[in-house]
């Protein structure tokens, strides 16, 4: 479950911002902003992906680096939201 979620998120970022399927190009703990992988609009697109493709609503107050700044953090955030739901 976690692995497939992680794979989906990693794949989305790889394909849309690094344009590759090579998973070595994006470490699970790499900072998406710090490494310059996404900018402000990219982050909005990731949130749309989480909401529309994964089916988890991201509240405005949840848009913080602790939840979104790496693949691992996004996975942990989505899983915690699913548990609550």
């Amino acid at each position: 479950m976690a692995d497939s979620l992680r794979d989906r998120i990693q794949k989305f970022i790889l394909e849309n911002y690094l344009f590759t399927s090579d998973t070595s190009a994006l470490g699970l703990d790499d900072s998406l902003l710090g490494r310059g992988i996404v900018d402000s609009t990219g982050m909005l697109e990731i949130i749309m992906f989480i909401e529309e493709q994964i089916g988890v609503t991201v509240k405005d107050e949840e848009m913080v680096p602790e939840n979104l700044d790496s693949v691992s953090r996004i996975v942990a955030f989505v899983e915690s939201k699913r548990k609550v739901a």
Partner: protein
């Protein structure tokens, strides 16, 4: 009028050295700190053998360290080349070589720093200064640059027309465009903007715009010139963090481009925050819809809303619309700033009457010296002291200006200019392409995005992802085509010229 931005800073520090100048996360620099940091930077750059007139590149996200290095360099009578933090090393190195920078100072944590450092010519020095995020950041900075503190920051003995900042608006292997801004340009524009915004030492601004961008550069220097406080952010990826700072740090002024306000209005629940201290909002960098302006005014009723217009080639600002005329003249970019003349001219250079659309041309003390090492481009852009902006505009009967479009083909993503030729040059290095054209496409958030249309050679295969990946390693993310289409041929005029507008 002061001779340089350094003189404005020295006036501010003399007024109140303990006043907070810059704050980034947990790092707070007073004016006294900033001046000490700048003096240390000046000493270090001189000791590296840099001489008046030399260029020094700076690669930093928005941070106090960058500001200290910039003012230090100006004090040492060097010209600063602020490097685009979103750009790739391969492009930056072209700009550094074109600009003839003798040294580059950068944050080793920047993702492109290692590649940039490795690509520099052996005679270009590289100095690493880490932007730190703690209470002792000034001392850390001074240790990091490795010069002895204590000497005072000197007012530079510069002439009005000495170059202070070299800002690259595009940088390709073909033709990098470096805008030469003089000390006189920067001071003149700064003083005028401080005046019409009414900036005072009690103001607290917050910027999310990068300092290599002329608007961000202007927000920085106007706040320091006024002796105000500027809070630094890099981006709007986390709108809530910005909103919390606006509220909790009682920010009085906030500047943005249309997409800045669009993001805040869509994801930040502005009405739930207390922004009662907000005195002004400024908007430039492209047209913002009337509905969006009205909505921002409703959400932040305490703020006067300034619509402004300008260009890097004019240092930053050429016109503004006085907030009290906003309802009456919504859609206008206002009137010229004090000391600036603007004319709307036809293709033959004749001044047009109100209501007729022509090219917006401007003259004043803020117009650039020219493009660095490109006399041909300079002659085309500045004619008899008048800057040809490339923007189409008209005036109304009251002399208010309205933008109608662009003369030259330039894509505006967010507020960053993207030259179609720059993207085409990168695409041309992909094998299998017979011909291609790059054009703009509408984008809901950013106004425009980049679109590429490719005609492949017989037998060649390429897919959209390969094309984007090729661009991504060679261009800043915002320049990478959002859409790549494949076509059998490109639309052309009878003379064979590609009709980009038909691709949009």
């Amino acid at each position: 009028m002061p001779a340089s931005l350094v003189d404005l800073l020295l006036t501010a520090v003399a007024r109140d050295p303990g006043k907070v100048a810059l704050r980034r996360k947990r790092s707070t620099w007073s004016y006294g700190d900033l001046v000490r940091g700048a003096a240390t930077a000046a000493e270090r750059l001189r000791r590296a053998g840099l001489e008046p007139g030399d260029r020094v590149g700076l690669l930093f996200r928005n941070c106090p360290e960058y500001v200290a290095l910039l003012y230090g360099a100006l004090s040492a009578r060097l010209a600063v080349v602020p490097l685009n933090v979103q750009e790739r090393a391969s492009v930056l190195v072209v700009q550094i070589e074109h600009g003839g920078a003798r040294m580059v100072v950068g944050d080793p944590d920047h993702p492109e720093w290692a590649a940039l450092k490795a690509a520099l010519q052996p005679d270009v020095g590289a100095l690493e200064v880490t932007a730190v995020d703690d209470d002792a950041s000034v001392e850390t900075f001074m240790q990091s640059v490795g010069a002895s503190p204590g000497q005072a920051l000197e007012s530079p003995a510069v002439a009005r027309d000495d170059m202070a900042i070299l800002l690259y608006t595009s940088g390709t292997t073909g033709r990098p465009k470096g805008v030469m801004l003089s000390h006189g340009n920067l001071v003149a524009n700064n003083v005028t903007i401080i005046d019409y915004l009414g900036l005072v030492p009690d103001d607290v601004g917050l910027t999310v715009m990068p300092f290599h961008f002329s608007y961000g550069n202007s927000v920085l220097h106007t706040h320091l010139g006024a002796g105000a406080t500027l809070l630094l952010e890099d981006n709007l990826a986390y709108p809530l963090i910005v909103m919390q700072r606006l509220q909790n740090e009682r920010v009085t002024g906030f500047s943005g481009v249309p997409s800045t306000f669009a993001i805040l209005m869509s994801r930040a629940r502005i009405d739930e925050f207390d922004l009662g201290a907000m005195r002004y909002l400024t908007q430039a960098g492209g047209a913002m819809t009337r509905a969006a302006i009205q909505r921002m005014r409703e959400l932040v009723p305490s703020a006067r809303f300034f619509v402004m217009y300008g260009q890097t080639e004019a240092t930053a600002r050429l016109t503004y619309l006085p907030p009290e005329r906003l309802d009456e003249k919504l859609g206008s970019i206002g009137k010229p700033l004090d000391g600036i003349e603007i004319e709307v001219r036809d293709l033959d250079g004749r001044v047009l009457p109100p209501g007729q659309t022509g090219e917006l041309c401007a003259r004043g003390p803020n117009i650039m010296l020219g493009y660095w090492r490109d006399e041909e481009a300079t002659r085309a852009a500045v004619v008899d002291g008048w800057l040809r902006t490339g923007d189409l505009a008209h005036t109304d009967e009251d002399g208010f200006l309205y933008i109608d479009g662009r003369v030259v083909e330039m894509i505006k993503v967010g507020s960053f200019r993207v030259s179609p030729l720059e993207v085409e040059e990168v695409l041309a290095t992909l094998p299998g392409i017979a011909e291609m054209a790059v054009a703009s496409m509408p984008d809901e958030l950013l106004g425009q995005a980049v679109k590429a249309v490719l005609v492949l050679r017989d037998g060649a295969t390429l897919d959209e992802r390969e094309v984007k990946a090729h661009c991504r390693v060679r261009l800043a993310a915002y320049k990478v085509p959002k859409v790549v289409e494949f076509a059998r041929e490109l639309p052309r005029t009878s003379s064979g010229k590609i009709q980009r507008f038909k691709l949009s």
